[in-house]
């Protein structure tokens, strides 16, 4: 029986040669992401902005979104978003944070209940006051930064400092790209988005560490090979694994995205994006950046790989 393979054996793709495209490309994409983040901003959910989120199901047939919007518009709640959520009788209502502190938030739900009447099942009600939302935003930022720092320290211990720095640059790249994606798609950015980013950080590092591990091993084995060639060899050797793992992870994530329900859809969407970005960055950012970090400063030019091959004991 022939087994499925995505990548033929013994590929000799010259990834390092592509760095003159991938680096500027990533740099531009990163700047664009940051500019979009600054200009468009993120579509912050109530976790970080405060406000009220109500998911309802109408009990008397399909929901009339326009009517619900009209009725809610009459009670002075500021910005109210009404959208269909999953089935045709399911509606998600988002109401902006009210002026007047935590107490004012509480009356919102009562007023909405009054207006929408009896023929409604309240499936989910979330109210986050301004105090808590500010804390959550702070905790989220601190969390991502701490994670990056902790990993930096770990990789520094296990590898050399160039690896640690390279891994962090690649990971920051992923985080920026993910934020850019959130800015473009205007996908709601909430606590589970932070969870998604941290998982992407974890996954991307996982991928990067696997490649680095092989680079480290090859550094000992091929003492005279030039660094770019050595990086190419290492990436090619791990390429089959990289693609297979990304594929199985994506299989699981697509199952979640399609069948896992509305509530976690934005979370899985961000994760799927992160798998692509994380895989890309381990190959095209994390590895080539080692050249610039002068991991092996003594050798330079792109000599043929076979030239200096010597098995280390």
């Amino acid at each position: 029986m022939r087994h499925i393979r995505f990548i033929p054996d013994d590929t000799k793709i010259r990834f390092m040669w592509m760095r003159s495209y991938s680096f500027p490309g990533s740099a531009i994409a990163g700047i664009v992401s940051l500019v979009l983040f600054a200009m468009l901003g993120l579509n912050y959910g109530i976790d970080f902005q405060g406000g009220t989120l109500i998911e309802i199901r109408t009990l008397d047939g399909p929901a009339n979104i326009a009517e619900i919007r009209g009725r809610l518009g009459e009670i002075n709640l500021g910005d109210v978003q009404v959208q269909s959520f999953g089935g045709e009788d399911e509606v998600l209502i988002r109401i902006e944070s009210q002026e007047g502190g935590d107490l004012a938030q509480q009356s919102v739900v009562d007023r909405v209940r009054l207006v929408l009447g009896e023929q409604v099942e309240y499936r989910r009600v979330e109210v986050v006051g301004p105090t808590v939302s500010a804390e959550l935003a702070q905790a989220g930022t601190i969390g991502v930064l701490t994670a990056l720092f902790a990993v930096l320290v770990y990789i520094w211990f296990r590898f050399e400092w160039q690896f640690a720095l390279g891994a962090i640059i690649a990971t920051v790249h992923d985080v920026i790209m993910t934020i850019g994606m959130f800015a473009i798609v205007q996908l709601e950015f909430n606590l589970s988005s932070i969870a998604a980013i941290l998982t992407i950080v974890g996954y991307s590092l996982n991928d990067t560490v696997v490649v680095y591990d092989r680079i480290r091993e090859n550094l000992r084995r091929y003492k005279k090979m030039s660094l770019p060639d050595l990086l190419d060899v290492s990436i090619n050797q791990t390429l089959s694994r990289t693609t297979l793992t990304s594929f199985t992870t994506l299989l699981a994530l697509f199952a979640l995205f399609i069948f896992g329900g509305e509530v976690i859809r934005s979370f899985t969407f961000a994760m799927i994006w992160g798998i692509f970005i994380g895989t890309y960055s381990s190959i095209f950012i994390a590895a080539p950046i080692l050249i610039y970090l002068r991991l092996r400063p003594s050798t330079g030019g792109d000599e043929p790989a076979a030239a200096g091959e010597a098995e280390a004991a």
Partner: protein
């Protein structure tokens, strides 16, 4: 790498079997599980509020309300002390967190200072032995101005004890709702987290939680009418309070309360015998009853006011002395509001105002849908991954799948054992682990293929494949684990559930890669003696 001591084999298999044993209770009904013999594990997965439905409410003790109460109290106490000591003063008033007063005769300044010093109480558990730290500081200027200021430490202690007391009151109130296993915990310095699983009506819970339920009885001031007081200004000892009627009616009442809710021993909803309207009957303890009797004896014919949270609920006239220590409150109650008031009075008043700062409620319908969606996604995701592994690696893929199933079994077993909460993102974490767990096998198998291609014999390749891949697996998983731990630290509720399953998934993945998969492959190698690597 392929040799296992017999005891190791035993341990590995035992770990897997025990893992599965712990998942068992989840597949049977609670009644069936209860009948099992004691040596079998019985704990089931704890479902998060997002899966079983329920309310998550975070309340904050309002520091400002405590400061206000304290500073008002301080002013009243200072007035009392100065009057009793016959020290002339002027300009007694509250300013922020302090009380100011000017002593008329500077000669009495020292005396006043000494008398007022008793207001500064040492703090409990002060770190400085002997209690040098106090809850009030007293400063005086030479020109007779005295300033009493509440200290930060003193206020912190008040807030902290208000949280403790509030937790008790909240617990008593929620117990009256008859829900199962509510969890009420302190969070941080000034917050209380309330989680009530399976609650259908969160509105009622919120109504019960948001009221301070401070009940007081006051005499109505007869010096002037409320209307007059509104136009001019109320007499020194009186305040204007509004009734709960629509529109509110103003009452001028004496500031000092005759009796308070703390003297209540019981409160019950009932019906008025004549009008048949819902009312709340109450009973005082002995000292409360005695005080109430004395006051009513002295004031027959005068109206008094019953105040709930500074609003006048009812203002009847005292027709005769009330000696029995019991009475009734009639307002415009509905059956439910009378019932709720009785609950609140029985549970006692909150020591400070509580504000809801975060609320997340999931109805039981959405919870069921989420479980169903999570299960579907988990099954489809697993089947897809399992099928793919067989297609990619054949027999070794089957081994990977057996390890994968053992892995998921152990995750669920550990979650049940630790009684960790399973949330919807937690299910996502398990599904994601399914995707990533095979990574360990992919790493090993790809390494074996490489070793085989570089000319090693099948058995040597397998041996070297395992040996070289395991270091990579460890490094790669530790980094993900770091992210999971931080996620756990910072997240709450559903996100925390995700971090827990992710972390446990990483641990079991590493375990099964290092032991179970290796054991499976080793057994196969020994029994078949393969001459070529079948991948």
């Amino acid at each position: 790498m392929l040799h296992f001591a017999r005891w190791k084999v035993g341990l590995i298999l035992a770990a897997v079997v025990i893992g599965f044993l712990f998942t068992l209770p989840n597949f049977f009904s609670a009644e069936t599980v209860a009948k099992w013999p004691d040596f079998l594990p019985k704990s089931r997965l704890v479902l998060g509020l997002d899966l079983q439905g329920g309310a998550h409410i975070l309340m904050q003790v309002e520091r400002e309300s405590i400061v206000k109460d304290r500073v008002d109290q301080l002013r009243d106490d200072a007035r009392k002390i100065l009057r009793e000591a016959r020290i002339g003063y002027t300009g007694l008033g509250v300013q922020g967190e302090s009380v100011q007063v000017r002593v008329r005769d500077v000669a009495q300044l020292e005396d006043a200072q000494q008398k007022l010093a008793e207001l500064a109480q040492p703090l409990n558990g002060s770190v400085f032995g002997g209690g040098t730290e106090r809850d009030v500081t007293i400063e005086a200027d030479a020109d007779g101005l005295i300033r009493l200021t509440l200290t930060e430490a003193g206020l912190n202690q008040r807030v902290s004890s208000a949280v403790d007391q509030s937790i008790e009151v909240v617990r008593r109130r929620i117990d009256q709702l008859g829900t199962t296993e509510p969890s009420i915990q302190r969070q941080g310095d000034d917050r209380i987290l309330i989680q009530v699983p399976g609650l259908q009506d969160s509105q009622r819970l919120k109504t019960l939680l948001q009221q301070t339920a401070k009940l007081t009885f006051h005499l109505v001031c007869t010096d002037m009418s409320a209307e007059q007081a509104l136009q001019t200004r109320p007499p020194a000892d009186c305040d204007i309070r509004y009734s709960t009627d629509e529109p509110p009616v103003p009452y001028l009442i004496e500031r000092r309360a005759l009796v308070g809710g703390e003297d209540l021993v019981d409160a019950q909803p009932s019906f008025d015998q004549r009008s048949n309207e819902p009312i709340v009957t109450f009973r005082f303890n002995t000292s409360g009853a005695r005080r109430f009797a004395t006051v009513t004896e002295q004031n027959v014919g005068r109206p008094f006011a019953i105040l709930l949270d500074k609003e006048v609920v009812s203002a009847p006239v005292i027709r005769e002395p009330i000696r029995g220590g019991s009475g009734q409150i009639s307002g415009s109650f509905t059956v439910e509001s009378a019932n709720d008031l009785a609950i609140l009075l029985r549970a006692g008043a909150l020591p400070a105002d509580l504000t809801i700062v975060e609320e997340r409620t999931v109805g039981p319908g959405l919870g069921k849908d989420s479980i169903a969606a999570g299960e579907t996604a988990a099954i489809i995701g697993s089947v897809a991954v399992i099928t793919f592994m067989v297609l990619a690696y054949g027999l070794l893929g089957v081994f990977a799948n057996i390890a994968l199933i053992a892995n998921v079994g152990m995750i669920i077993g550990i979650l049940s054992l630790l009684q960790a909460t399973l949330t919807l993102p937690g299910i996502a974490g398990i599904v994601l682990t399914v995707g990533m767990a095979v990574d360990a096998n992919v790493l090993i198998y790809e390494r074996i293929r490489e070793e085989a291609r570089s000319g090693r014999s099948a058995i040597a390749a397998i041996d070297a494949g395992f040996a070289r891949a395991l270091g990579t697996i460890l490094d790669a998983n530790v980094t993900t684990l770091i992210a999971a731990v931080i996620l756990f630290q910072l997240g709450s509720g559903p996100v925390r559930g995700f971090a827990v399953t992710l972390a446990i998934g990483i641990a079991t993945t590493v375990f099964s890669a290092f032991t179970f998969t290796r054991l499976l492959v080793a057994t196969w190698v020994r029994s078949r003696r393969p001459t070529s690597v079948p991948i």
